[in-house]
């Protein structure tokens, strides 16, 4: 584990063609890391995420992504992810291959990945059309009861990227509030990057907090507000107005491209981005 800048972490650990999981279930979504991947022009990425959210809408619209594995691709509480829709419906900026699951299936896949198992089982997908279109949904028979259950393969990304509240100077990471699949995304991945709100000498005890030890993390980056417009419980609240505003920004290709050029490509890092869009990172 090393404490480095987000620019260096992405440069070193994220490569063209990698499978990436930027996770965070509405809480702690690593938006700053997504921006840096766009800035560094990564291509042909296979993105994995339960809820693609704005962070993947931006990566897809910027042409970084050739494949998406997901379970719910919307703008929570607002509506569609326009760039995701445009890619699927109109192949803009290019075709997007999709692998579609349910939340329960994705959670099972991450848990299997974290546990070093090749697959996981669940009571899922039965009677739905998903297995007709998703080849990674199969079945297994219980060797004791004969029941047939859904089987899904483990997810083991090349890089798992999350945002968290805190790290200490040796790189132990502390997360509280909605935990999502943050732990599983890191443990299932070959490499991992964690952006944090603050780096402290010693982690104070926090009710409901979990700790990921430094030795399962490759890079810790200090990026205050790095989840925006998502949030970090104890440090910020969800910027619902930004989620609503994103619908208009992303509906039009030119408006989207102009936004990315100005606020992401036109800025050197997340703090410049924050100034540029007028929020305090």
């Amino acid at each position: 584990m090393s404490i480095v800048s987000l620019r260096d972490a992405v440069a070193e650990l994220v490569h063209d063609g990698d499978t990436l999981a930027l996770e965070g279930f509405t809480h702690l979504i690593p938006h700053a890391a997504g921006h840096e991947i766009i800035r560094q022009g990564r291509r042909n990425l296979h993105l994995v995420r339960m809820t693609p959210d704005l962070v993947y809408d931006q990566l897809i619209g910027s042409g970084c992504v050739s494949r998406l594995t997901f379970s719910w691709g919307g703008n929570p509480g607002v509506g569609s992810l326009q760039r995701f829709r445009d890619a699927v419906e109109n192949k803009w900026p290019h075709a997007l291959e999709i692998e579609e699951h349910s939340h329960a299936g994705m959670a099972t896949r991450y848990a299997a990945g974290a546990a070093g198992l090749p697959f996981g089982i669940l009571r899922g997908y039965i009677g739905t059309d998903l297995p007709k279109h998703t080849s990674t949904i199969k079945t297994v028979e219980c060797p004791f009861t004969g029941e047939v259950l859904a089987a899904v393969p483990a997810i083991n990304p090349d890089v798992g990227i999350i945002h968290a509240q805190r790290a200490d100077r040796s790189g132990n990471v502390q997360i509280w509030g909605l935990l999502g699949v943050q732990k599983e995304a890191v443990l299932a991945s070959d490499r991992s990057i964690v952006t944090v709100e603050e780096i402290v000498d010693e982690l104070p005890e926090v009710p409901g907090a979990i700790v990921l030890p430094s030795w399962v993390i490759d890079a810790v980056c200090h990026v205050r507000g790095g989840a925006h417009p998502s949030f970090a419980m104890g440090f910020s609240t969800r910027d619902n107005s930004f989620y609503k505003a994103w619908d208009a920004i992303s509906k039009d290709r030119d408006a989207f491209t102009a936004w990315v050029d100005k606020h992401i490509m036109g800025t050197a890092d997340f703090s410049e981005y924050c100034e540029s869009v007028g929020i305090n990172g």
Partner: protein
């Protein structure tokens, strides 16, 4: 009599149903954002025995003081009895059969209560790409019973869904048993025009009640299959001033 919107009408009728279920010890409610979350939170404020709100973000027993925009709002975690990981909420809580009522909505629902929230048109080249499954397929499979809230129109209430994201009664009576599903499937479909329930013999959705001022013709015109009405067709009560006041103060918070 106070004025009210059709959304308020749906929300109030859903809250009444949840209140009745909670009184009958069916309290654990797996709720999505939007109308379901609003209805469940309204029921928490209107009835002595409160529904227990469970969100797929891992919140168990949430008591939000204001309505969340997303299932991940911090408010939900801060007011919960317990917060667990996403793998746990689906495995230990939903899949294990601890949820009495699952709350769903969608872009299309068909006459057997199957729901589409994936695509309009073909999957390969969709006319409209929708957000997708989320937690719905397993909620529909595992919840003790499912409540659906949707605005009714012939485009949304269809003979057969373009894509079956979440199973209701499949192709009719007996399919859930054949699939070995543990949950009871859709029991209440609440729309802006009427209340529908599966016919005990065929499992086809039939109209149990009309909302005040709504005609059979309106419902038939807004349904994509030749919808049937029960003999003793009821009319739902107008939302009361109390129901509307509590709902509006909740939405204003």
């Amino acid at each position: 009599m106070a004025e009210y919107t059709t959304d308020e009408l749906m929300i109030v009728n859903a809250a009444r149903q949840l209140g009745a279920l909670a009184a009958a010890a069916k309290r654990q409610c797996f709720v999505g954002i939007g109308l379901p979350s609003t209805a469940a939170n309204l029921a928490r404020r209107l009835y002595p025995i409160e529904p227990v709100l469970i969100y797929e973000s891992g919140c168990i027993g949430s008591k939000p003081t204001r309505l969340p925009l997303s299932i991940g709002d911090g408010e939900l975690a801060e007011t919960s009895d317990a917060v667990v990981s996403v793998p746990e909420i689906f495995a230990y809580w939903l899949q294990a059969g601890r949820i009495d009522i699952g709350f769903l909505s969608g872009a299309q629902i068909d006459k057997f209560g199957n729901i589409n929230s994936t695509v309009i048109g073909s999957y390969e080249s969709p006319k409209t790409r929708l957000p997708g499954a989320g937690g719905a397929p397993e909620i529909a499979a595992s919840a003790g019973a499912v409540m659906v809230i949707m605005r009714q129109s012939a485009r949304a209430f269809v003979e057969r869904c373009d894509f079956r994201t979440s199973i209701g009664f499949g192709d009719g009576k007996g399919d859930r048993e054949r699939f070995g599903l543990r949950g009871g499937g859709p029991k209440w479909v609440i729309t802006d025009l009427a209340m529908m329930e599966p016919d005990p013999d065929s499992c086809e959705l039939v109209v149990e009640a009309l909302h005040p001022g709504v005609t059979r013709d309106q419902v038939s015109a807004a349904t994509g299959w030749p919808v049937r009405f029960v003999d003793d067709l009821a009319v739902t009560d107008e939302p009361t001033d109390i129901e509307l006041d509590v709902l509006r103060s909740l939405q204003a918070a």
